[in-house]
Symmetry: C2
């Protein structure tokens, strides 16, 4: 059993199995499940075959309702069929899911679990969508990691074909769907061995077929519907054993053994947590640490949530169980407890009454919510739950991971608690969306995964502002499989790279550096000036934590070797060069191989330039001697401009600064209502170049304020008599147009810190200079020399009185 190791994300893991085991795949991609549909589509487009040598037909419908209907039809037509979805998409599938289950049609839906839109939309993970399906009659099986997303996808597929109960296979959106991890591949031979073609033939034979017609989809009346609904009981009763059977066969083939409810921890545990999804990984890691320290704690990992096998759940609980905490990654307002909690409590109470439980007195059972919308669930939070279970009257209906100062549901936790993580290296990379940092890191993980014995994990945090906003890559490497399904936090990173100098002032990124860690900065400052260019808190961290400090001017090197602004290869080379996860020469070879693989199709020149970048990177990397004293007076930039209103200062600014996690419940509106015009206070200062107005050329058409997506360029009309204390560089010119009062002026002004430098206003400007081709009434110019001047002009412009057309017309009549 020496399986091939591959480094992929959860979506790819599940989609690989799904594509191999189906004939019709109906999709309507939705975040975070989209890559499953996209991959399946791409694979079928290049003719990739399923287990039976056919290329699955991938159909994109016009909504998830359509996708579910198409699958329902395909299943009735005898095809093996699947889909991938999440969140509201899954809700739209519900009507068909009741039908598919009612007709005992085997299928596996793969779901990257995602929050439902309530007070606000969220693309991140919780189990609200999955829980909304629990009445449908689908089986529900949860994967807790990328490895499991592949393994349980296959186990679910085998079980549904054998047992006819359709399955919903889910894993945590983003945390698992987008986590890149080194796993053991499930090869086609294993899939072949798991799927018995007799089941497939039986499904084909059940198809609606004019040659041997059947009536389905009929209507039933009060006389027989109830009886018909109860006919399926034997199928549901059999299903848990069928799933366990598939798990056992899978174990024989791969060595990875799963149970419907897997127990971990102290054999005589008194305090037990029950968890489903990726949090099981974190809890497992924490339970091992606590149990090793002698604490009698344990964990039950819920894998097969439906059909619920209460006996299996009870059997997983040790006889010593005294208190149980059941964690739900969902909230059902008004339910008085979330689904998994109620299911476990019911099973335990009923099992005790039936004499099925190993213990004799009813354990204390509490339920809590965690991780809504991908809120972090850390070892410290996990330990807090175990600590709560040790209380005489532990809190029920609690929350963990937030500070609830309104309903006091939240448990306090020790944010500094860490599980031992021998040999694990954490690395953090701060880049900008679209600067290549994330792709380079995915490449690095693959290199480490494939070229070393190390296990690797990558998780990528994006700002919702997308292009031009920060991305933070969280990487871990270590000798054992990595189960830390949470971000690197304060002091966790042995390596911190800042790929964008300007982010240094916005994020306190070195707070996450471990003592003695490495800090790599892409800086345009010459090595001898880098230190003094740092903000004061950055210098302080470097000195206090005794960081090794490296710099490189990656943009200069990229420019010199003809790579434009593509710095990813350069920064990647520096990472490998400093970290020595591989011998330096091997690492460089691996990077160059990756370059050949990625850019082979684009010609020898591109490859050559990248190779040059690698070589130049090693030469351009400088270690900076760290002074003993902080000497900078540069402070971190405030998240919002001065004078912002209270809500913006206290809430919006914290969110912008990346400290939203710390906001207590009381800071958030109860019904999703936020004040408007708050974006004005966030000075993103993204533009490298800003448009400059040429008042002589301008024909005053008004198109530039009209098209600006950020309202960063505006015009104003005014009586020049009102101009007082006008900045020297403030431009204005007589207004054209009979509708304006005579003698009035007009000004077009750019907000230099709001402008993103997209150049749209310049592109559409129709006022061209006849003498100088290419010159218009708006032209891009470098921001740095202009910034202070234009900021002053903008403030002056904003303060000028604002006339609407009615006012103007009235003033004209006077």
């Amino acid at each position: 059993m020496s399986a091939k190791r591959i480094t992929i994300d959860g979506n790819q893991a599940a989609a690989t199995i799904a594509h191999l085991c189906n004939e019709v795949i109906a999709i309507y991609p939705i975040t975070p499940a989209s890559p499953m549909g996209e991959l399946a589509d791409a694979w079928s487009a290049v003719g990739r075959k399923n287990l039976w040598g056919d290329t699955p037909e991938v159909i994109e419908m016009q909504s998830e309702g359509g996708a579910a209907g198409a699958i329902h039809g395909a299943l009735q037509g005898g095809a093996l069929s699947t889909t991938f979805t999440a969140s509201q998409g899954l809700l739209l599938m519900l009507p068909n899911m009741y039908k598919i289950a009612g007709e005992l049609s085997p299928t596996v839906f793969h779901v990257a679990a995602r929050s439902l839109a309530a007070q606000a939309l969220s693309i991140f993970c919780d189990h609200a969508d999955v829980m909304a399906t629990r009445g449908t009659g689908f089986g529900l099986i949860a994967s807790a990691s990328v490895q499991e997303a592949m393994d349980l996808a296959l186990i679910a597929q085998a079980a549904t074909l054998e047992g006819r109960v359709p399955m919903l296979h889910f894993f945590d959106g983003f945390r698992t769907s987008h986590e890149v991890s080194k796993i053991e591949a499930v090869d086609e031979a294993t899939v072949r061995a798991m799927i018995n073609d007799e089941w497939v033939d039986a499904h084909h034979r059940r198809a609606l077929n004019p040659e041997h017609p059947l009536l389905r989809g009929s209507s039933q009346n009060p006389d027989v519907y109830f009886q018909a609904r109860e006919t399926v009981n034997p199928y549901y009763s059999a299903m848990p054993a069928i799933v366990q059977g598939a798990m056992d066969r899978f174990a024989a083939l791969t060595g990875r053994q799963y149970q419907l409810f897997d127990y971990r921890g102290h054999p005589e545990a008194e305090r037990i947590m029950v968890v489903m999804g990726s949090a099981a990984q974190t809890t497992e890691e924490t339970v091992e640490a606590l149990a090793a320290a002698g604490e009698k704690v344990g964990l039950v990992i819920a894998r097969l949530y439906r059909p619920l096998d209460s006996s299996a759940l009870l059997a997983a609980l040790p006889a010593t169980t005294r208190a149980l905490a059941v964690l739900d990654r969902t909230k059902e307002p008004g339910a008085g407890g979330e689904p998994l909690y109620k299911d476990v409590l019911s099973a335990v109470a009923q099992g005790l009454a039936d004499g099925q439980a190993a213990f004799e007195t009813m354990p204390r059972v509490i339920g809590g919510r965690y991780g809504l919308s991908s809120k972090e669930f850390t070892p410290g939070m996990c330990k807090a739950v175990f600590d709560e279970l040790a209380q005489e009257r532990p809190k029920n209906d609690f929350t963990i991971g937030i500070h609830d100062d309104i309903s006091n549901t939240s448990l306090a936790w020790d944010a500094s608690y860490r599980n031992p993580s021998a040999g694990v290296t954490g690395a953090l990379f701060y880049g900008l969306g679209s600067d290549g940092t994330v792709s380079a890191n995915k490449n690095s993980i693959k290199i480490i995964g494939e070229k070393t014995e190390l296990h690797a994990q990558g998780y990528f945090v994006y700002d919702s502002k997308k292009s031009g906003a920060v991305t933070v890559s969280h990487l871990r490497f270590g000798p054992e499989p990595i189960r830390s399904s949470y971000l690197l936090d304060e002091g966790d990173a042995q390596f911190v790279a800042c790929h964008q100098e300007r982010l240094l002032q916005r994020y306190d990124m070195l707070a996450k550096a471990a003592p003695g860690a490495v800090f790599l900065l892409n800086s345009s400052a010459p090595p001898e000036q880098v230190w003094t260019s740092l903000p004061r808190p950055v210098q302080q961290h470097i000195i206090d934590k005794k960081l090794s400090f490296y710099t490189i001017d990656a943009y200069r090197i990229a420019d010199e070797v003809g790579m434009g602004k593509r710095i990813n290869t350069i920064m990647q080379t520096c990472f490998f060069s400093i970290c020595e996860l591989l011998p330096s020469s091997e690492a460089i070879d691996a990077i160059k191989q990756a370059i050949e693989k990625s850019y082979g199709g684009r010609g020898a020149d591109i490859i050559k330039r990248n190779f040059s970048a690698v070589d130049a990177a090693i030469d351009g990397l400088h270690r900076i001697a760290v002074p003993e004293q902080v000497d900078s007076s540069i402070e971190l930039a405030p998240a919002v401009a001065e004078g912002a209103p209270e809500f913006v200062r206290e809430v919006t600014a914290e969110i912008i600064a990346g400290r939203g996690d710390a906001l207590p419940v009381s800071c958030l509106p109860v019904d999703g209502s936020f004040p408007t015009a708050t974006a004005a206070w966030e000075k993103r200062n993204l533009a490298q170049e800003i448009p400059v107005w040429d008042e002589a050329l301008c024909i005053q058409c008004g198109k530039c304020p009209f098209v600006c997506p950020h309202a960063a360029i505006r015009s104003k009309l005014f009586d020049p008599a009102e101009l007082q204390g006008t900045p020297a560089s403030f431009k204005h010119v007589a207004a054209r147009g009979k509708e304006f009062p005579e003698g009035w002026h007009i000004s077009y002004q750019v907000a230099p810190e709001d402008c993103t430098g997209c150049g749209l206003c310049v592109d559409i400007c129709p006022a061209k200079d006849k003498k100088e081709p290419g010159r218009r009434a708006l032209n891009m110019a470098p921001q740095p020399p202009l910034l202070e001047q234009e900021r002053e002009n903008w403030d002056y412009f904003l303060a000028l009185p604002d006339y609407d057309r009615t006012t103007l017309a009235l003033s004209k009549m006077k």
Copy 2:
């Protein structure tokens, strides 16, 4: 407090409140909620006003998804808004419901609960649809009767406006939505007193408005979504007390007091049932009877299901509670217990752990399913559950109301058990869909409700075959409010009327007659011949039960007074004349008033004819002296024709005969797959007239077989050499058309027992007789003289070989 009494159904009760309390009503009608939308639409169309003097805007959308979206928008726009729906319609509203609740928008959705389509569709009642919404954050409140549908609609409306948690108000589809009942009207003054305009103003002020803009419907990230989701907790915690407050205010206004969980039964009850919906009425009636007989039994009626107030639930349970049976009107395959059961079990277990319960040891808690798709729930079934609770090890996860010979979930029950029902008269009416029986009965209930002190209830059972199929009206009258939310069963009817002679042979309707009851038959036989025209089992019932037997030839009378085939007024007059619920003259006056009200707009002549029908009915009614001996040899007709296959004989035939309720689980297919072509075995024999083929006129266009909706007219081509033993009246003629073999003949033949007599084939027949206008190649002729002959011809026709065009073409080539 002398409220006006009205006789209406549950849909009208709820819709009345909804129309009075809303500004925008977005609908997409679905059975059994359609009448709510239709009434609201009709009321707004005639300008009926809401509480604030405005006519609500009723908008029909293109699906329930659209209706929910429209309401979401209307609520955000500040309008009071509602909808009415059920089943899959409710599922399509789920995405918007999560949003509406997340944004704390007050609204009440009124739902006539209906099964979800699984192995088959059903338009009848269970709570699967409602339970699918329990994660949305909507409050859920259940009405158990028509009275409650009006009362709790208002209580829900007041509570949502005060507490901002949106409410789903539901009642049992058909059983409550379509039950006609005499109730105390909730008048506008009560509605006015319940709704505080400050709450309405607050809702209006929360509207999105460009004059004071707000941002809603945004996206939230992992940093703050969880906190924002927890902000609503205080609203959900407050809601139960707000609902109870509304219930208390309502009690002060009307005298009708509700509790979140209402207790009924023995004050020291040991065995308790927890029930929600109309079954609570039946259970209440049964608990009173059992408790009066000294049995320590009780009932908790769940009204406010969400937000679940566990304390209120616990407070409703007596300290003597030893065993609880929680009944769910839904099935969640694989859940190991249905929702209400798990909620009650969790609340009890948690309450005991928290020291909140009045009892000290954990009661035994079992859960069961009942009433799926309007399956009957009777006092006998109710008693069976209490009997089960008395067992040492009562069965959990049971079913009641069916015989489950597959999984053995079902409890046995005593079908003969009856609650005392002092003074209640049960009356049964067998009619045909569209013959006016149901409308007449609705009128009769109104007359009794309005003209007497009696309480009245009407429930109408339709065959899904609609027009031409049987309708059975179940009426009850009595001095106390009627809580029997189940059908009249064997021996329950003091009055049985058969409005259609031919039904006598198809249904054993007198099995339901009580000893000494009245049997009224509409018969074309003269009084002296009626007895001998009866089937043998009918005579037997009349003699054994000493029934009073009346007949009338209603079709003859209707014809004579110029009413065509409208017999409803005549039969209604006979009912009042025999039953003497009112003094005869008063009853006749009331019927005539109802006629004037119904037909006033159609002219004096129509009214005069109806009046004549009333008078003639009294004259035409004959009491038949009952002989002492059965002398008929006519047997009940078999439900299906001879030679039917096993499934048709054992399953289809039982369903057709009205005995489907007795079919055990093993008779039904597991996945909704039925054999096809079973309808051929059901000889409905509906047609009074059938089409007769004129082979001389026929142009052989083939349109008649093409348009026949029942495939009851067909054509066949054959070589006349194949004709052997041909019936004398069998018609055939040389086939026209070059594509047919030379010398072949064609025949068009009608299946006289399958034909419904709709006349469509005649209407489209293009072959007209030039000499005799109106005569075509197909003409309707009375069935009775033709039946035997055409049956023989049809059998002969069917047995002739069937050639398809390929065979014909081949034979021609030879």
